[in-house]
Amino acid sequence: MTPVSANGAIRNGLIAFAFLGYLILIGIPGRLGGSALPVLALVAALFFWVKLRFDAPDTGGAGLPGGSAEGKPGWQIGAPGQSSGRGVGALFPGRGGTLVLRHGLLAGVTTGLLIAGMSLAFASAIGSGASIQPVLDKIVPVNVGALIGVSPGQIANDDVPLFRYPLQVLFFTVAGLFAALAAVAARARNLQTTSMARLSAYLDSLPFRTTARFAGIALPFLLLAYIVWLGIPGVSAFGSNEGTVRLLFTLIATGSGLFAIRLAHPGREQKIVALLLALGVLTMPFILDQFQNSVMGLVFIFVMMGLGLNIVVGYAGLLDLGYVAFFAIGAYTYAFLSAPFSSPYISNLLNLLGISPEIPLLGYWTALPVAMLTAAIGGILLGIPVLRLRGDYLAIVTLGFGEIIRLFMLNLGELTNGPRGILEISQPGLFGLPPQSFSSGLLSSQGWIFLVALVSSAVVAFVAIRLNDSRLGRAWFAMQEDEDVAEATGVHLVRTKLLAFAIGATFAGMAGQLYASRQINIFPENFSLFVSIDALALIIVGGIGSPAGIVLGALALKGLPEVLRGVDEYRIVTFAALLVIMMIVRPAGILPSARRRVQVSPTDEQGPTTAAEERENDASLPAQGPPARPEDARSEEPA
């Protein structure tokens, strides 16, 4: 091993340590309790894996046929025209595999030693009674104890078994090795000549790949089982914060489920996996507690929002920054129908008509078409004046529209009760049964909201996917590509644009209605610009145009911050850092649609094709046919 590559490994170890150190300083381990060490090791492994996968290690420089001289090596891996079938194939010629393993090992050991050293320093500082609180306010026994894997009491009493520190090192070493193995496995087929070849060949062999595939498919189910187990009364695997841990695993289970569907072979296997996962997710509302259900309910309300906004922004290419308006319209429409007594104007009107304003005018499900229709009309009313606007101008006008609606809600006190809001909105019932009658024992009230959100999102996703796969979807995309040509090709621009606005708004209206009944009381400040920004951010993070990506985006953007809730003031900063890193690593989103990938990294491959295929194959397929360009490397999943 050359000194150069050792430096590279140590550097990666240092970067990982810096990142993890930050997480430790803001108190994440304390939040995660007993699972802190494995989770931190997992984060480290992910980081190493990304580094090994997207950066050529320094050893590769000499042996790299294409050279990695210019710029960041990760963007220039392999030689164009190398018919490896995989863009990164040329990365590790010769004894590359061994080097990668050593690289991973060294990086992991570096991180582990540093973390152990830090833990030791903190533990002895706390044990000796040194005052570090004023500066490092999160370095408390709970946090450090979780990091080392002992109880807070042991930290406070300076009673930590010494073997705990080597154990920490071991965790991160394994993480580094694991990342290296994953990186090697992804490109093992190109290693021919060395002793590594046998290991690589094994890693690349059918049994291993099949096992890996099944492991990937099984993961969400295992996590689900784990969540169920954690929910059993009396089970307390992880100290104080199993609620948060359970939420984290719920998020991961849902997200990994989407990947599992992609791992399954298309056809019957995929259908079975999808069906089982759907069943698994549908059981979640019954097994989670009130807190986790309320977070998941919000996540899926935002999935609906994201799917709707995706029609406007992702499919039709109309940048709408005032999307919250339709969310608000849906919410307030239902609020008026459900709690007319909260609105002075409506209760007066009803009194005049001889109807008691004290009872809801319509139930949740009968109000649903009304809320959807009102939101759709709102969408058309916004659409008409902005028909001629494009790009930035459209964004600014829609931004204004969103604010106008919010200010309406704030200032039309007679109608909307102004900042005092509409109170006591009722929850959805079922077949005439009031929500209380069935949501008491088996299903918590938030679980019921989560369930309704799940089913509604599924319906919305179904409609969105089907529409996108029809002539309307093609017209939307054509319009996004070139408005003038689309019109000259026969697309009725006015109708097509208004349909996009109206359908997007309808979905937001549905989401808004459910949001209102989740919140019970709604106020104008619930509908600020930030809701629009959240919705837009989640589709960008997830991958514009890809429904599965939107679910992942919502999990990451609306779910993860709740997991980080305990680190309060650092939450947003951490989150922002995660976003920046993600946009560098996967600029097209977590699970981009094939079309979006074409835009971000043009390739010669025949991969991205029809909308139907786009959803089925997407990222998990290796490049086929013609010589893969280096850019492929960034749009592929590991084998």
């Binding site: 029809s470 002539r471 054509a478 000259a488 026969g490 349909l499």
Partner: protein
């Protein structure tokens, strides 16, 4: 012969510039007509007037006896006028097949509800559209590239795809804006052959703008010449070639003064 398209005294003004000045052109059914002229003569502007991208200030455009003035581009396409563009304007991130399917948009009528429910009628229509799109791709010689994202096609094939997309709307008049621009000789030959086949096999009337005089002279039955927005000549290729004003427009007045007897080879 009846005129399928009749352009009558069309004038288009941009600010102080008269881009198209009182132009009359008649195009017979199933004919191939070329529109030539120096750069900036107003050829593409005239095409844009025909397809509804611009609205002419004066004049009348009759297609099949009905006026096209004031119609939206998609309505004009619905009447049976399709076009290609001087600088290729495909839907870049769509596959070749999808481009042609968008071309058929007007001819598909299944409701959006039926698309959500995947009714048998909608599915049958989609299948038929797909089959027709593949036929069109085969017609222009791109059948093997149906699933290729259109930006990844070679330049010449992108031009062919534009033609296929235009054919998707089942036009009776096809406007080709410099179909052979930037092509090598063999690609140009392929395009000229395609133009003939469009007329002979599909019965489509062709109106094309072209700079390559070899193409113009060999392919067209009638040639109209624009210069500074005015039509300065119209006739068979031979007549136009012999026309002194055309030579002057292309080569400048000095050439005409010095050498009126010998017509330069355009």
């Amino acid at each position: 012969m009846t005129a399928l398209l009749s352009i009558q005294a069309v004038t288009k003004v941009f600010g102080g510039l008269t881009a198209v000045d009182n132009v009359d052109v008649d195009i017979a059914e199933r004919s191939i007509t070329s529109l030539i002229g120096p750069n900036g003569a107003g050829k593409t502007t005239l095409f844009n007037c025909l397809t509804g991208l611009h609205r002419p200030e004066a004049g009348e455009i009759l297609f099949d006896g009905r006026s096209l003035i004031g119609l939206r581009p998609d309505e004009i396409t619905a009447r049976g006028v399709a076009r290609t563009y001087q600088n290729i304007r495909l839907f870049g991130r769509m596959t070749a097949l999808e481009n042609v399917l968008v071309g058929q948009h007007l001819r598909l009528h299944a409701s959006h509800w039926s698309a959500i429910l995947r009714s048998t009628r909608q599915q049958a229509e989609e299948r038929a559209a797909r089959t027709f799109a593949l036929e069109l791709l085969a017609f222009v010689g791109l059948e093997s590239h149906a699933e290729v994202v259109s930006t990844n096609l070679p330049y010449g094939e992108q031009r062919l795809l534009e033609v296929a997309r235009a054919l998707g709307s089942r036009p009776s008049l096809l406007l080709l804006d410099e179909p052979a621009a930037g092509m090598n000789p063999s690609e140009t030959d392929r395009m000229m052959e395609l133009v003939h086949r469009l007329r002979d096999e599909m019965g489509i009337t062709i109106f094309l703008i072209e700079h390559d005089m070899k193409v113009v002279m060999s392919v067209s039955e009638t040639v109209a010449v624009l210069d500074y927005g005015e039509k300065i000549a119209e006739g068979t290729p031979e007549e136009v070639r012999a026309n002194a004003r055309v030579v002057e427009a292309y080569l400048g007045p000095e050439v005409v003064l010095q050498d009126t007897a010998d017509t330069p080879n355009l």
